[in-house]
Symmetry: C2
Subunit: 225 residues, 2 copies
Amino acid sequence: MCEFCGCGVKSVTVERDLREENLSWAFKVRSLFKESGSLSINLISSPGAGKTTLIKKTIELLGKRYKIAVIEGDIETDIDKKAIEKMNTPVFQINTKGACHLTSKQVFSACESLGIGSEPFDIVFIENVGNLVCPSSFYLGEDIRVTLLSTPEGDDKPMKYPEAFFGSHAVVITKMDLLPYVSFNVEKVKKALRKLNPGIKIFPVSSINGHGMEEWIKFIEGRIK
Amino acid sequence: MCEFCGCGVKSVTVERDLREENLSWAFKVRSLFKESGSLSINLISSPGAGKTTLIKKTIELLGKRYKIAVIEGDIETDIDKKAIEKMNTPVFQINTKGACHLTSKQVFSACESLGIGSEPFDIVFIENVGNLVCPSSFYLGEDIRVTLLSTPEGDDKPMKYPEAFFGSHAVVITKMDLLPYVSFNVEKVKKALRKLNPGIKIFPVSSINGHGMEEWIKFIEGRIK
């Protein structure tokens, strides 16, 4: 069984080599972020949970005070890249062409293209491919891993996809503006997340009406190097 | 690159063997469904798009006239199995323990446990693991593949995850009750889906208020063997 995404490929040696290769590139990425003095944040979620919208809202609130860059991961299209470009923020698009997660080697190339390491970026967002399973097995060299869970997805997701939440420093509960229309118990989710990961930070937010954004922004600002 | 889920494992021979093994089990599953006279439906979507809710609503509307069974695929938990059991419907839970999709071998075992092949089921739902990338590369022996897209996920998903929609016979646009509160253009999605797959059937539905369920039910009934 492939240990990276559990896809079923039975090649232990190749897996180990790939895991070591990914980790080796991840350390190079980490060094680049250190040289650049950047806080790097790997965003993981299901498709459509609001990763790009959260990045846009964060740029809107912090972009005047801090230098921000974005690495966009998608299987196809540069829709998200274009949305970030409109905010006059440096952005690099990675298209994985079928793969269900980013690799640290891809992120290293993106960092080089953006000049991370030579230019001083305060914050670098890495938006992973929309997938709640595969990206959690690939360390990209980030400082902070944040998993998003949108209220319409339902409050059973921390139990059903524990790996994604177990390995994260913070969870952003997105689309809080939809709470009156969906079946989602915030307290139940908080309890399940803290059972998986007692130290996890939890931010219920709405990028639409601004609910909870202050706490999220404080969390980021507190970690800028 | 692993051809199954694109996870990056570089083992061409192992991949080919696994692909052939999966296909060989898929044909066995297909034979079981044929013997049983069952219409089998493989449901694919992001986590929380409403697969279980759609199955429950379909059982509610068709369960008195047809014999239905459900195969539940999840990484962890039997939450969905318990929900189906409450409807007095035969159900078998597969826990993939980390893997991002079901395999035809797992489905074959589930069919045997449910007595498919010996007992005459009219409809068998296979609820795949919540993932818009990996399950689309694994044929499970199903008659119909249906991908769900929920309105809160956004209308760019057919462009961003083309494989999932390209290989499906039908798309169910779920959570139409949330349409007034989210940014989702149904016509844009229909156009994008038909560009990818001209013959695709599209059903905008709400399992909450029943919107569009009549067309979905007609589609299923028209294909019962």
